[in-house]
Structures are given as C-alpha cells and as structure tokens.
C-alpha cells in the first residue's frame, strides 16, 4: 500500500528573522512545502485539525479560552483521496496557519526521531496512550511546554517588546524543542521526575539539539546559514541561536535583549557553571554536542572540496552544503542513538557521554575519530577527569545464543532470569529488587548506501534494568531520598553478542551534593508545591513524605523566572 501523504507549507524559521538578514529572496515569512508521510499504517489517516493517530491539534479560542472547531481542513486529492493537503490561508497568524505549522513541525520532528537514521523504531509516548495533543493557541504567556499529565504540547503567545504578538507555535525551533521533550520522555521517562540538576538539564539540552537537527533538516536554511557564515559553523548563526524571535521579543532579566534563548556555542565548563540552574547547565552539554557537529562538518567539508571522480572541483558553497547535509545525518545518529542507550533512572552528563559513545561504537566500531573528539570535550569541560571514565565495557559474558534473542525480547520471565543471572556484571547490588523494562527492538542504518543503493542496517535488542539507590538528603526537608539508577545492555540481534553495557553513575558524592543544593534552591524560592488550595499533581514537589526526591522537576524547565 502506498504511503499516505499530506502536503503542508511550513515556516522555515521564526517567520521573519534569520532569513531576512541573509538576503534570501522573499524577505518575510519563508515557507517550504513538505510532505507529511504516514508510512505502513493502514489504520492511520489525516483528518481535519490537523490530526492523525499519534498527533492531533486541539485549538482554543483566544477570546474565551474554550475549545474550538478544527482550524485546518484536510483537502483530499481526487486521484488518491487518502492523501491530500492542508491549505494555509493568507494571514500569517490565522488559527489555520498556526495549527498547520505546529502540526507539521511536530509531525516531521517525530518522523525524524523515529527514522532509521535515528532510533529506528517507533516510540511509545510516556503518558501511555497513543495520541499527543498539540495546543497551538493555549493562551497568554511567554512560554511553551510539554506536559506529560495532559499528554500535550502547549504553545502560548505574548506581546513582545515591539508590540507585536509572538506566537510560539510559529517558531520552528520552539515547536521542535517542545516535541523533543515529548520524544525524550518517551525514551527516558525517568528523567521527568529527577532530583539531579544534570538530569533535569539533559532534557533541556536534548530538546535544544533536536531543534538544531530540525533546523539543519531544512535545505534552504542550511544554504542561507552557510552563505551568511562563509561556510563555517563556528560562531553565532541560526543554528546556535535557538528561538531567535522568542529571545528578541523578550528581554532578559538584566534588561538587555537576549539574542536568543540560549547560545549553544560557549566555553563553559562544569566549574564555571557550578551551582547553575538546570536551564543554564544544559548549555554545557549542548555545547559539547554542537562542537561535535562542527568537527563532523569540518571534516566532511574538507573531503567535499576535493575534486570528484571526473576531476571537477565543486564550488565551496556546493561542497559546504553537501557536507552539512551529510553532517546533520551523522550527527542525528550520534546524538539520538546515544539517547536510546541511556540507562534508566537519574543521569549525569557523563552518563550521556558514555551512552553516546557506546551507541556510536556499536554502529561504527572502526570510525573512532568523532568519539575521540567528543570524549576530549568532556575532559576539557571538566565533566570527567579522564576520557577513560567515559568508556563502557562490552562484556561477552552478557552475550546470548542467537536463537535466544527474541525470547529475551518477548518474555518477561526470560528477561528477569537473564538479569538475575548477570547481577554482578550489571552492577546490581545484592538484595536490591529491580525491574526489567519492556525491551526495545531497533533497526538502524549504520553506513552510507552501497553501489546497490542499499544502506547497511543493524538490528539491536536494548535491555534496560532499573533499581533504586537511597541516600540521606539535607535541607529543611531532610530525610531519605530515592535515587533511581540502572543499566542498559545492548545485544546484536542476529548474533546475540554484547554490543554495550552502559551503567549510570549518579550516586556519587558530587551528585548528591548537587541534589541537596537544587532542593535547597527550590525551598528558598518557594517553588515547591504546597498542599493548600488548588491541585498540586502537576507541580514540582517532593515525591512523598518518605522520599525527598523531586517529582515533576521537568517543569522547572518552563517555570518562568526559574530559568535564570
């Protein structure tokens, strides 16, 4: 059966900025026509809204705050009525256009994340049902967020410094960023309620990097940025400045207009950011990844400038664009597959480093150059003392016979047997009970297409084992704190060999100190939910009376005034 397609026109960047400065024709809002593609699911289709099985727009009337009819109509093609278009109208900020833009960007972000150049599998939303709601006009606020409890992405609008209304749902960066939160929550749900500042920051960093990938996914934006920056990625440009329009419309706390929400390129270290709040802390991890993208691009650009087989030397612009097109694919594999290897529980930046390196090694054992540079960044920025700390083993004692791989995937009994048998290798403390999470079956592209036009693939079984550590916490709350932790084992599906064992390490004294500090900051700021009056279920608070770990700490990332 042919894929079902919906054509949409999406804004390339924040409506009016970036491209206007670069001299790209059209000046104002630059749009690209995109085909949204539902592949292989015969039960899925595009509906008014827009809506499909996994993503649906829910719009609210700005004047009343009440739900309104679907703002965009699906117009089927006569030739193939399951496919069609969502037709925008002439008004940039109409309900229709805002809805189409938000839906289309979310759709493409999910597709990118799940594609064979990234996770290579469909993810299940962390909230346990099938459809993510997208609210393009949620109300008045200079903010946007993903919220698990309401299964939604919510985009607000506000009046900027210039007096014009800024719709966050029209910003490709912001939409991709929030969608990145939802996707990361699907893959690493335990980060949502974490007490470790780095753990909270990982969410923000990954969301920012997903926005970068979605920006790089636009050929026109790639061209424009390369033209502006003279074919280098270093230095401030459209990719490092997430959500330009948002940042410009809303001055920073010091009254100086911020160029954008956060600059991804910086020289921060764990020492310079000591005590920083999760928002700021996230820029350190983002910068490490962004530097890696730079390195990948620079290397590919050098290669692309060489004469081709016919002795023709490409123009620098053509070479750069080709190199960046490839670099973004290498980069998305590098980042997002690492995400899939993250152990359950709270995580440190070093854990992300370990998982990323393990995932890259599993797919490309020979190509170690990017990994070496990446490790070096962690050392340079004082996240770890030595690159060895980022290494993870591939213990072949964890291998299984090839014919047992699928039963390890399907059978909880087999999975628990497996984990019990390998307790000490996994680092599971004696007597501690554990959980084996539902196993993941993922098939990834692991190299360039061959002469036959087929890219090599690798099928992997990802097994995650979770358990709890406990510690005493300080602060006025005091008492006991549960620190969820765990390990990931990855086996090659065809052979049963062990590709990686990644264990998290957040029980160390420095992470405990950071948890105590975060708790104290929250108490000091009165940012912890109290129990009087309105419902507290969706607010940041303590997990329970007996556990001073945090619940819903993910919300800190969009608590206005807590981003300082």
């Amino acid at each position: 059966m042919a894929d079902v397609v919906a054509e949409v026109d999406l804004l390339v960047q924040d409506g009016s900025l970036a491209l206007a400065e670069t001299g790209v024709p059209g000046g104002g809002a630059v749009k690209e026509t995109k085909e949204l593609r539902l592949s292989g699911d015969v039960n899925d289709r595009f509906l008014d809204g827009p809506a499909c099985r996994r993503i649906a727009i829910v719009d609210f009337e700005p004047a009343t705050g009440l739900p309104s009819s679907p703002p965009a109509t699906f117009t089927p093609f006569t030739s193939n009525p399951r496919s069609g278009k969502y037709v925008a109208d002439g008004d940039e900020t109409s309900a229709t256009n805002i809805a189409i833009n938000a839906f289309g960007t979310v759709f493409q972000t999910v597709r990118m994340f799940e594609g064979r150049d990234a996770l290579g599998r469909r993810v299940d939303w962390a909230f346990g049902s099938e459809q993510l709601l997208v609210v393009p006009r949620a109300g008045e606020w200079a903010n946007a967020f993903y919220e698990r409890a309401t299964r939604s992405l919510q985009f607000f609008s506000f009046v900027g410094e210039s007096g014009a209304r800024v719709h966050t749902a029209l910003s490709r960066d912001i939409v991709a960023h929030e969608c990145g939160h939802a996707l990361l929550d699907a893959v690493a749900p335990s980060l949502y309620d974490s007490s470790t500042p780095q753990s909270v920051a990982i969410h923000e960093s990954v969301a920012d990097l997903v926005a970068v990938i979605m920006a790089l996914d636009s050929r026109r934006l790639r061209e424009a940025v390369l033209a502006r920056s003279d074919n280098v990625l270093a230095g401030a440009n459209a990719f490092t400045a997430i959500a330009e329009e948002f940042g410009m419309a809303r001055p920073g706390a010091d009254g100086i207009a911020r160029h954008a929400l956060r600059e991804l390129e910086n020289d921060e270290t764990l020492e310079t950011l000591s005590g920083a709040r999760p928002h700021i802390l996230s820029t350190l991890l983002s910068a490490i990844f962004y530097d890696t993208l730079n390195v990948v691009f620079a290397k590919l650009f050098q290669e692309a400038k060489l004469p081709d087989a016919n002795g023709v030397t490409p123009t620098p612009a053509a070479a750069a664009n080709k190199a960046l097109g490839t670099a973004q694919i290498v980069f998305r594999r590098f980042l997002l597959r690492g995400i899939d290897y993250l152990p359950p529980g709270e995580l440190s930046f070093a854990d992300v480093g370990r998982a990323t390196l393990a995932a890259d090694r599993a797919a490309r054992p020979a190509a170690s150059e990017v990994r070496e540079n990446f490790s070096h960044q962690f050392v340079k920025r004082l996240v770890v003392a030595t690159a060895q700390e980022l290494e993870s083993p591939q213990p072949q004692s964890l291998a299984v016979p090839p014919d047992q791989v699928s039963s390890l995937h399907d059978s909880d009994w087999a999975a628990y047997q497996y984990a019990t048998r390998h307790r000490s290798t996994l680092g599971l403390p004696d007597g501690v009970s554990f959980t084996v999470l539902p196993r993941v079956d993922s098939t990834k592209v692991i190299g360039a297409k061959g002469d036959d036009g087929v890219a090599p693939i690798q099928r992997e079984l990802i097994v995650k084992i979770a358990w709890n550590d406990t510690e005493d916490s300080t602060g006025t709350v005091g008492g006991m704190r549960v620190v969820p932790t765990g390990a990931t084992v990855v086996l090659k599906w065809d052979t049963g060999e062990c590709l990686a064992l990644v264990r998290s390490d957040v029980t160390g004294v420095e992470h405990r100190r950071d948890r105590d500090r975060l708790l104290a900051q929250l108490e000091e700021d009165g940012a912890l939910a109290t129990h009087d009056g309105a419902d507290v279920g969706e607010s940041v608070g303590l997990r329970s009376d007996g556990d001073s770990g945090l619940r819903a700490s993910h919300r800190l990332l969009h608590l206005a005034g807590w981003d300082g």
Binding site: A56, V58, A138, G561
Partner: protein
C-alpha cells in the same frame, strides 16, 4: 493613666479592629487617638453578613465621635474593605481625619509601575478565565476567590461593582490626608500621633515581586480587551465533544487541567494581594504592637530581611491561616521569654467553616500560646460584639 485598647469585632470572616491610643498633649492633658483597621468580611457561608456592619460601625462611630483619627486599609480584599460602604448604605457613616491605603491601590499605581502593570493584566485575564469557568460549572471556592480579588477590577467588570468599596475608602478622609503608603513612605505629617510612633514594615514599594513567577492565562490580552463586562452575563460556549480523531479522554483531561491551572493562578493572585498588606508597628509607652494585615510568607521574609523586632502584641496575619505566620521567624517576633518581662498578647480575627485550612488551629494558632502570649479570638464573642485587649500606660 488610661490604657491603650485594642478592640476587635466579630464580623464573621474578616477584620475590623479599632485601636484607641491615649496620648499626652502638649498641655499635659490626655487625648485618645483612634486608629481603625479595615472593616469587611467575606461573601461566603454565614461568614458573610453585611447587616453586621451597621451595628459594628455604629459602635465605632459612638466611640470615636463619628470620625477616626487614622483609618488604614491594609489591602484590597473584599473581607477588608467592604464594611464602611455597606454601613453607610444602611445609614451609618464614619469619617477619618487621615486615611492610609496600601500603595498599590493608588489610582495611578499601574501607570507608574510597568512591571506591576503586566502582572495586573495577567491577573485580570485570570479572573476573567475563572469567571467563565464558574459560569459553566458551579464552583463555590473559585467564586469566592474571584469576588475576594475583584476589587482590583475596573467598575462593572465581570458584572461586579466591588471597586466601589475601595473608592469609598479613598474618600473617607480629606484628599490631602489620604495617602497610599508602602514601607518607604515618609510618614511625617501623615498621621495624628504625637506620643506614639508608627513604622511601616510592609508592603514594598514595588509590589510586582509579590506576584511571583506568574503563569499562563487561557485567554489572550487583546482578544477580550473591554469585552469583560459584555461577556459577563452570558456564558460562552465551546465544543462539547472532541473533534473527530482527537482522543476524547485526553481532550477532557486537558480542559480539566486548564481549569485547575486557573484555580492555581487565582490562588497565587489571592496570596499576592495578601502580601500587599500594610503592616504597621505601633510603639507606645514601651509597648510594641504589630498589625500584620493578611501578610503571607513572601512579605514576612522581606520584613525579616529588613529587621523584625519582638512584639508585645501581634494581630495574627491572614485570619490564622498557616501561611500568614512564618514559623521560622516566629521566635524573632515572639521569643520564648519576653525580652522585657512584659505580658504579651495575640489576636486572631477569624471564622469557622469558610476555608478548609483557616484558621490553622493545630499549627499556627498553637504557636500563640502561653508562656509566649495570651491568644484572643473573635470567635469567642457574639457576632457584632467585640473583645478588648488592654495595655497599661
């Protein structure tokens, strides 16, 4: 020598406190200055009873000759402002020689304080959101909160005219003796006292810090500018069923969460308004009396940072709610041992059955106990009657 008398009336859920301060005049005689705080109650349950004000204000007028020397409106909550106009409508008038209203009640406050203005706009939107919610489904708690905070709305907004109450208080004293005060106000020449000294501990000049982080509102600013009054009487309608293809459970959960968010916003607004309370410290013949309005934790923290001193009398803030007394600062205000050996008193003016956690009998009120102080409670006297606390001169 006469006593200083603090007289607290049982007006239901609200404050009405008359402080009579004997002062020596320059000619060696004694003259009593009358200081009146608030007068109002909340429109909920039987805590609301406008009739009570007729008798109470009559009693105050009888004791003061119809004019108090200083009237203080602590903050713009209905349970603190509505009594004097209600009594006047029933034919009992009371005037003041001086009136102090909390700084942010100044008619021009929001033009001179742009940060506060932004917060106020978001406050108005949230109140309108809440109003729409109670029109769709009854919600007594939310309704009470809307009304309590509605004095900040323009006349006629949401079909209410609660701003009339504050307007009346703006006019009970001569214009040149009506002052909008905050901690930084120079009080010289603005009060009647010659022997007693007064100091303001709160509110801050810029109240925007009380409004906290703010949050989302369901409606946007210009979409309903000026439409509030028009939409007040008719409940707008939205989709009652989810659009085709939208997960119905998620659709209804989302709306419920939006309503909960509005409730949370309204609660924050209510707290912020409490924090704009004028907190007045009166010193007289070695006694230190603290009248705390409805100040909540945020205001207490600021007062603490500016220097809090032990008091012989505390008007317990916010009707004995647990967030009206900052437990950590309690020893500062009322040390275990009286620093000068004088007796100490606390007053709670409150009412049962209006709010779940107010008064907080087991927590907050249990702090104000011997050996620290004697607790006086308006619930111990009949509706409309008053209790007296005396301080010997």
């Amino acid at each position: 020598m006469s006593d200083l008398v603090v007289r607290a009336y049982n007006v239901g859920f609200g404050d009405a406190i008359l402080v009579s301060v004997p002062e020596r005049t320059s000619r060696g005689k004694e003259k009593t200055r009358h200081l009146l705080f608030d007068v109002g109650n909340l429109l909920a349950g039987d805590g609301n009873d406008d009739a009570v004000f007729t008798g109470v204000v009559q009693d105050i007028a009888d004791r003061t000759g119809g004019t108090v020397d200083l009237y203080v409106m602590t903050h713009e909550h209905l349970d603190h402002v509505q009594g004097l106009l209600a009594a006047r409508r029933a034919g009992v008038d009371l005037a003041a020689k001086h009136a102090w209203l909390t700084g942010s009640a100044h008619p021009d406050y929001y033009t001179t304080h742009p940060d506060a203005k932004l917060k106020k706009r978001s406050l108005e939107l949230a109140l309108e959101d809440a109003h729409r919610i109670v029109q769709t489904a009854p919600d007594p708690w939310l309704e009470m909160m809307i009304r309590n905070n509605s004095t900040l709305l323009p006349p006629g907004a949401l079909g209410l005219k609660t701003s009339d109450y504050v307007d009346h208080l703006r006019k009970i004293a001569p214009p040149d003796q009506t002052h909008y005060v905050d901690r930084t106000t120079d009080l010289a020449g603005k009060h009647p006292f010659s022997e007693a000294t007064v100091r303001l501990l709160a509110p801050e000049e810029d109240t925007s810090s009380y409004y906290g982080r703010g949050g989302p509102t369901l409606t946007v600013a210009e979409a309903d500018a000026g439409a509030a009054a028009a939409t007040a009487s008719e409940a707008p309608v939205g989709l009652s069923v989810p659009p085709v293809g939208v997960d119905p459970g998620a659709f209804f959960d989302l709306q419920a969460a939006r309503r909960r968010n509005t409730r949370r916003q309204i609660m924050e607004i209510d707290q912020a308004n409490n924090n704009t309370s004028v907190v007045l410290e009166l010193e007289w013949r070695g006694w230190r009396l603290l009248f705390a309005g409805d100040a909540e934790l945020k205001s207490w923290k600021t007062m603490h940072a500016n220097g809090l001193e032990p008091a012989h009398f505390v008007k317990i803030s916010h009707h004995g709610s647990h967030n009206g007394t900052y437990d950590d600062l309690f020893d500062e205000l009322m040390p275990q041992q009286s620093p000068d050996g004088r007796e100490r008193h606390a007053l709670v003016s409150t009412h049962d059955g209006d709010w779940d956690s107010v008064p907080d009998a087991d927590g907050t009120l249990s702090l104000y106990r011997p050996p620290r102080c004697t607790l006086h409670d308006t619930r111990t006297v009949a509706r409309g009657a008053s209790l007296e606390i005396r301080f010997a001169g």
